[in-house]
């Protein structure tokens, strides 16, 4: 039952995804409500105003050309496409994993896309990310279907679990087990949750 997607296919998709990524949004492109939250700090008037604060990434409105169209009638294909985008990290260009997640927005429910792009981390994603970024590394995921039983699928909801192995130049650097919940919308299946299991 395991379905392993070859690195070749994933790299092709990832390369196309990356070609469309950007982190050069200007602050005025965003809802100003984000800024108040990010710059507020307890006990101080505005201590962060001089700091370069990260802004939440904008939810993508279209998938990369090669990634689209995804067969929205197949929840597995929708889940795998979303995870591939979500876990393809271009550390040389992205501010953090949130940028990759935002690129998956066209495959997410409207509410979920809004939820993940309404806030962001204040500073860098950490020392390990910065080490990858210093080398301009791109993390490419391999997605494997998990065989553990999931709740039964209904007409409206599908539950899946996957093992995700992210590699740099085919060397595994990060592993996770993730659960995915999909709901059937007007245009077919869409992802309503991606969560570490």
């Amino acid at each position: 039952m395991n379905r392993t997607h070859t690195a070749t296919a994933v790299v092709l998709l990832a390369a196309t995804i990356l070609s469309g990524c950007t982190n050069s949004q200007s602050p005025d492109e965003h809802d100003s409500s984000n800024f108040t939250a990010q710059q507020w700090n307890p006990g101080s008037v505005s201590p962060d105003v001089s700091d370069p604060i990260r802004t939440p990434p904008r939810a993508a409105t279209a998938l990369p050309k090669v990634a689209a169209p995804v067969d929205r009638a197949d929840p597995d294909l929708v889940a795998i496409a979303a995870l591939t985008i979500w876990f393809t990290w271009n550390t040389g260009a992205d501010a953090g994993p949130n940028d990759a997640a935002a690129r998956a927005a066209p495959l997410l429910t409207v509410n979920y896309a809004r939820e993940i792009t309404s806030t962001t981390a204040k500073s860098s994603p950490g020392a390990q990310w910065l080490r990858w970024a210093a080398a301009g590394s791109v993390l490419v995921p391999t997605i494997t279907r998990d065989d553990e039983p999931t709740p039964p699928q209904t007409d409206e909801v599908a539950n899946r679990a996957y093992r995700v192995s992210q590699t740099i130049d085919d060397v595994p650097v990060n592993q996770s087990v993730v659960a995915v919940i999909l709901r059937r919308g007007t245009d077919g299946w869409e992802v309503s949750r991606i969560q570490n299991k």
């Binding site: 201590p47 039983p149 570490n196």
Partner: protein, 558 residues
């Protein structure tokens, strides 16, 4: 004292052992503070004499640290059994059947027996800070009540044990707090988590130097509290009744030597921020790199503070008259101090009902995503990075930096046979609901959900419980005192190199984990029996299973 300028390597090294010893004692015996001194019960775990300190205002948690998982919170919810929308009037704590329940307050037992929905309940009427308050404890089994109506109890006294009676999907304590009197009209419940947090916020009011010396300085901390109430760890007030599993000591040698004394000290600033948490944050931020600098953000030093935040929050940790982002003392103590400030904001948010969720995750969300964004959302920020951060930091703290204290929970034998402890840890959850994605090192957890409401609740996967690999993860983690936390996936567990392969049925011993086929995993009990969390719609149970004559896939840990 190193904090007064003698921060050279020798001095730092000299205080390290003292600090570790002090904090270890602190972790082992708890925060011995408050109005009542711990009973000298010589480890007998006997209840203190009723009436010795009635209505003193002391408040303790109703379960000992490490024995429970906070699950369904106070507030609106869909009832897990009936499916009806309701206002959940208390906080649920999942814990194994038989886990001791302690009186949260001094007072008088006014109810102890059967009750609709609860199966059984206990109500204790008390006076705390001059105000009447009732505490309610529900779902004990018929043989799980150890007090009687009219009895006087003191905070910390055992009053019963956790059960699964009434409308319940698994063993847990339902705990309510009612300002006023529960059995009288005109009273309404409040969020117990917020009330407990507000009762004993032992945040120091300034001078952190006095906090590094362990238990003796805790009394100093208590003296500074505005409230006479004081949340204590129930087990900690009764040495010998079990040590907290959630060790707060720093594992010796787990961080660079030059960081160690300051991380230990940072972990003493407030109760909510432990040394392992501080260590995990430093590793995440910089990998303990003193020279770390991020040109794009301006973040600098081992704690990666940005200039504005540093200007507002910096602490002169070593007392040398300077606040330097690349000073280990200044950076670590500033980080701990800022964490504690955020923890207080999170506690206030929980008390007022503006925030929901786990206190540690909430203050970590504030650290990572900002207090404003966290308060605005009423919960942990839901972006991918912050969710990863609030999950990763406590996990890393436990697995990599915490002092491992052998689990002494119900039925577990510290340093006892590993396999027997695996079995014990799993068997105490018999009857607990299967929940897809549920279960972690501490116990059952809410399964994976997208907040879809009733559609989720019709199935059983959104409830609090275990799935198959969640149960195995939990049992092995408990048996190892938290040292071995397996991945939450059957194939990864059965291949984990920390265990050794068991190739034949004749070699199987109780506590071995077995993958009968790809997609499932359970624990061998012997005599062709296993304990498992089988599938949706089922519960944790013992099943018959005969090992194959060849092709056994099994592994033994410990």
């Amino acid at each position: 004292m190193a904090e007064h300028g003698s921060s050279g390597g020798k001095a730092a090294g000299a205080v390290t052992a003292v600090l570790i010893a002090a904090l270890t004692a602190f972790a082992m015996f708890g925060v011995l503070s408050g109005d009542r001194k711990p009973e000298d019960d010589e480890g007998t775990c006997l209840p203190s004499t009723p009436g010795t300190a009635p209505h003193s205002g002391t408040v303790v948690l109703p379960l000992s640290e490490g024995s429970y998982q906070a699950t369904s919170p106070f507030g609106p919810r869909t009832h897990p059994v009936t499916g009806a929308q309701e206002g959940h009037q208390g906080q649920d704590y999942s814990a194994p059947i038989g886990t001791p329940i302690y009186a949260a307050t001094d007072g008088t037992v006014v109810k102890a027996g059967p009750a609709d929905g609860f199966g059984n309940w206990i109500i204790i009427d008390s006076v705390v800070d001059g105000q009447s308050v009732s505490t309610v404890y529900g779902h004990m089994n018929d043989d799980g009540i150890d007090v009687s109506e009219g009895q006087t109890v003191a905070a910390g006294d055992p009053i019963g044990v956790v059960g699964n009676a009434g409308q319940s999907t698994g063993p847990h304590l339902h705990f309510e707090v009612w300002p006023g009197t529960r059995l009288a009209s005109g009273s309404d419940p409040v969020d117990p988590v917020g009330w407990l947090a507000a009762s004993g916020a032992n945040t120091p009011s300034g001078d952190t130097d006095t906090l590094a010396a362990g238990p003796s300085s805790a009394e100093t901390t208590t003296a500074k509290r505005a409230s006479s109430r004081n949340v204590q760890l129930a087990a900690a007030t009764k040495p010998g009744c079990g040590q907290p599993v959630g060790a707060t000591g720093l594992r010796p040698g787990s961080v660079p030597a030059e960081f160690e004394p300051w991380i230990v000290k940072g972990g003493s600033v407030c109760a909510e921020v432990t040394a392992p948490i501080v260590a995990a944050q430093l590793e995440q931020e910089s990998g303990f790199n003193i020279q770390a600098s991020n040109a794009s953000s301006g973040a600098d030093g081992p704690a990666q503070f940005m200039p504005g935040t540093w200007a507002a929050k910096a602490v002169d940790g070593d007392g040398d008259g300077h606040k330097d982002t690349r000073s280990i003392a200044d950076a670590v103590m500033t980080q701990a101090s800022y964490d504690c400030e955020l923890a207080q904001i999170a506690k206030d948010g929980l008390t007022s009902g503006k925030l929901h969720g786990d206190l540690t995750e909430l203050y970590l969300s504030m650290y990572n995503c900002g207090p404003g964004a966290t308060l605005a959302g009423g919960q942990v920020c839901q972006n991918a990075e912050t969710l990863d951060y609030v999950a990763k930091i406590p996990k890393t703290a436990t697995e990599k930096f915490a002092l491992v204290i052998p689990n002494a929970g119900p039925g577990l034998v510290p340093d006892g046979p590993f396999g027997a402890n695996v079995v014990t840890a799993a068997m105490r959850w018999l009857g607990t609901t299967y929940a897809w994605g549920g279960g972690d090192r501490n116990g059952p957890t809410k399964g994976v959900s997208d907040g879809g409401g009733r559609a989720d609740m019709i199935g059983d996967f959104d409830r609090v419980g275990f799935d198959c690999s969640g149960l195995v993860l939990h049992a092995v983690a408990q048996a190892s005192g938290g040292a071995i936390v397996l991945p939450h996936q059957d194939s990864a567990q059965i291949a984990d190199p920390r265990g050794r392969v068991i190739g034949t049925a004749a070699d199987l011993q109780p506590g071995d984990i077995i993958q009968p086929h790809s997609g499932h995993i359970f624990i061998w009990l012997g005599n062709n029996h296993v304990v498992e969390a089988p599938q949706s719609g089922d519960v944790v149970k013992v099943s018959d299973w005969t090992p194959p004559t060849s092709g056994l896939t099994a592994r033994r840990f410990g």
